[in-house]
Symmetry: C4
Subunit: 320 residues, 4 copies
């Protein structure tokens, strides 16, 4: 795992001109009192590379790794002892149609995303996993399977995480440095284990609209915050929101964050799952949304590894 960390330290992220150091350092404010910093008064604070707003896109690679009779839009009333065959085909859609369609869309839009890969899903569809990385996207770890990670013992969990990241490395050649737990549900030991294994960041936190740093095992560890409200799994699932509701809602999220970003560091997170975000209607939605977003000056789409590294290098990153 040491390689990954080295890899990170080698390349400088700061290839963009116009770095803006904020006059009043943000981390200083954050350190002045736990949870009590008057953030609403905070002064101008932008990104190290000069971006006004950073948009971070997730693409879950999970289908194929789901447990038998995993939750789906079908009525959850199967008789015991039988397989939910059509639900399985709903998942298959994720790798047969969903991911390929999204990959084409990201290429057309010129967007690089972070793919959260379940280890067993990678092993089931290795060519597709590799293609994601080959097209320039980030592979991040997402557990070896869909097990309930927060109930595992320390050693059990460490093996569980390592198996997943090893599967990604073996198939795609990518050194994952980011982590996402199933349904974001990490346990009390998760961050420590991630730090030991060489990870730089996790995303299982909804508390801020910008990255921040925590000390884990005495070292800096980054949170690149995630989203439920601009996330297809929360909005869709086959019945909650319609696609046009998703589009309107995410647009309003962007409008507000873009406005705020004139004066402080803001990150927007959007998430798509293989079997949901990869449907024609949702890819159409992403196209509409991203085309809208790209019309705004100063917006950059970034992989989460880029965001984490930039946060580590930036002296003004919030420290909690």
């Amino acid at each position: 795992m040491i390689d990954r960390r080295k890899f990170i330290k080698q390349g400088s992220l700061l290839t963009t001109a116009g770095l803006v150091a904020s006059a009043v350092p943000f981390s200083g404010m954050a350190q002045s009192g736990k949870n009590m910093q008057p953030e609403s008064k905070s002064k101008k604070s932008k990104w190290l590379d000069g971006s006004r707003l950073v948009v971070s896109v997730s693409m879950q690679f999970e289908a194929g790794g789901q447990p038998e009779n995993a939750e789906s839009p079908f009525p959850q009333n199967m008789e015991k002892g039988y397989k939910d065959l059509p639900a399985t085909t709903w998942y298959e859609y994720g790798y047969k149609e969903g991911i390929p369609r999204m990959l084409d869309n990201w290429d057309k839009l010129g967007v690089k995303i972070t793919s959260h890969m379940v280890g067993s899903a990678v092993l089931k569809n290795p060519a597709l996993a590799k293609e994601i990385v080959d097209r320039g996207h980030e592979a991040a770890a997402h557990g070896m399977n869909w097990a309930t990670q927060y109930t595992m013992s320390y050693n059990e969990e460490k093996k569980f995480i390592k198996d997943g990241v090893d599967a990604i490395k073996k198939i795609t050649g990518f050194d994952a440095i980011g982590y996402n737990a199933n349904w974001l549900r990490r346990g009390e030991n998760t961050l420590k284990i991630l730090q030991e294994l060489g990870f730089l960041y996790h995303i299982d936190d909804l508390s801020r609209d910008e990255p921040f740093i925590q000390k884990v095992n005495g070292k800096d560890f980054v949170t690149v915050p995630y989203t439920l409200r601009c996330n297809d799994i929360q909005l869709i699932e086959g019945k909650n929101f319609s696609v046009d509701q998703f589009v309107h809602q995410v647009k309003m999220e962007f409008d507000q964050l873009y406005e705020e970003a004139a004066n402080r560091r803001r990150q927007m997170s959007i998430s798509f799952h293989d079997r949901i975000g990869g449907t024609p209607q949702m890819v159409q939605a992403a196209k509409e949304l991203f085309t809208y977003i790209k019309k705004h000056e100063g917006v950059s789409f970034k992989r989460k590894d880029e965001i984490a590294k930039m946060a580590l290098e930036d002296k003004t990153t919030i420290i909690e």
Copy 2:
């Protein structure tokens, strides 16, 4: 049942000029690795009859065949031992108003659809079942009633399926060659039984946006994929989606598939149930949607039997 298969082989489907054989055969790609074919890179691959996009419409004929106190928009809290009388009238709407209204609409729009007919519903309303076929639509089998097919023994299930298709033949004169299980929930033996009984295709699969072939009992058997997301039962049910949400969502689905269809074979599936899709508001929705779709060049509405036969004749059909 043999008659049906003969009937199929007799008539050539290829009455349309301009067949386009794809340069890189799709089935070849599919055979190169299970679930790993790089579909997103696939070259131009259209339909045998030259269609750019094929739209497949389903109309469920189920009302009247439902079990007592079947699920409805009413609160599911009936005291035991009593009949849910208003829920019964909700189902009756399906054959008294719903199907007749949709039939008129399909005529006005010039669209031929596939009607998935429950055997007992056919026996209860024979004249209406016959009228569907007389107006040029396809009758496909949908079980003898709403029983949980996947828990049946082999012989029990075979009789269950045969009873349903026999009822359709007796009443409408139509040889059904397509099958749809209740809530898509087929069992482990279903495809084998269907192949034995002379069926050519089933629809209980959501994994692709185009038809594909599987070997069943050593012979080709077609999947004409179905949909939950452009399906009134998932969207409506009396409270999930409103009709305008359905319209927006299905439009976005079409826009994406039509775009993709410039370069590869794409099928769009839309589904309407007698008691839901047959309401005035949903027929209005279908009218709006299909009028929009028909403005696009190269779109053809096809019955699922036509799609299945075309897939069988086409050397480039995906083989799984």
Copy 3:
């Protein structure tokens, strides 16, 4: 109760010129086969008074008669033995704000509606019940309280219904001839009891978009069909649909029925509950909807007693 029936026979409903007898009597078609009439082929069949489309509006008068801790938008997790006080105020809104607001709206729009009155609610707010009738609206019976009517014995149910209609008569002076069971859930004896008590019609049926006649105790009894899909209780409840969804959906319902009404008899049903349809946002919705509907030629808003009587006089009414 005999008075009510007399009252009905006295007044001729046919004060409107231009009665249109349909060339092919509809009831004849309906008699040709149970549930098998080819309705989609039916010829021109309009209303006896020449209306093209009849719109029937319901206003439930229930609040104040609800049982303790009746269902509300609040979380249904009250500790046992305590009163859900804020839920009670949600109901109180129905008579303090909801009904008065709707009454003003109906006056402005020039619409007469049918108010389905729970007996105990009438006794709790007698002045308001009387005002509804004084302003020209119909009072219909809706049970003495919210009890589960379909589990009652014959005699118990007869008393239950009679108590309710007597309360209405006593307070408002109106002879109710129409009935609506709680959640439409009538029992096996309900229609017989209603006929014995002198009622002319009930609404607990969703099976058609026009009134029809059944023989009950050997006499004609009318069903004036009701709706769940253009009904605020199904759509709103505090979280299912938003008000703008309701507006769009009901508009689409109207558009289709108005179109169909050029060739056959069509009735549209819309329903508003005191505590839901009486909120400012829903009254705004009703105003928008009815203003839209009223722009169309030949549409008449009618009370359900008018519809029932017209159906009885009309030789072409469907007989089931």
Copy 4:
């Protein structure tokens, strides 16, 4: 607590010119019969300060005071004995991003709101609580924590309420005179206790669209009515309504109340929770809504303490 009441009596609220005494006193009408007043006939009745419509905005300050594993948009299926860590970060968002963002928005819009503060949340984030008051908003009490208040004994509840209001006083210096129970669920003793402790009003009532007075312990006590339908917690929660639905619905609410306000006293209530209403998309929604509302003449945004005091001084306030 006596100080608070004194404070109230000192300052005259009537600094606005053009007071309009209604010709027919409203309270007179209300006294004519319990729950039977023909409100729909009521004459012109405006606010004491001449406002046409008063809009009352709530901002809940609750995050940080929630119990372990409190309800959140995450699946409610945690294994027993484990902490729902990501759900905690969902709450943290309320004080880290939500409240600061809303405070900036209220400043930009020039709106003063009422912040319902949970005592333990105030103690956890004192600087932020103080900032709310320092920026001119009202601090109202919202219990010491999220306990089920209606199951407490008299003394237990009194201590619970007092602890909460004392926390607010200690941290912010503000004498809270308004109360809101968790999920509005007050018990049978709550109003008596509040009156004893010097509170002037509570909001746990949905029954009217204007304030009213009740006698509690023989003295006037005001209800400033609250809302569920223009409340982010009911509409959002991560899946019920999308933000654009919220916007449309609240706009329709305003349109109706503004129209009615030409002839009688009307209050509109809107509510935002730290972790929901404080998201970028909801702040964008509030901006859109309030910008729309402010274009209308005669609308004033008021804190609930101002509304309560005006209701007490006004001889025409409804007395129940």
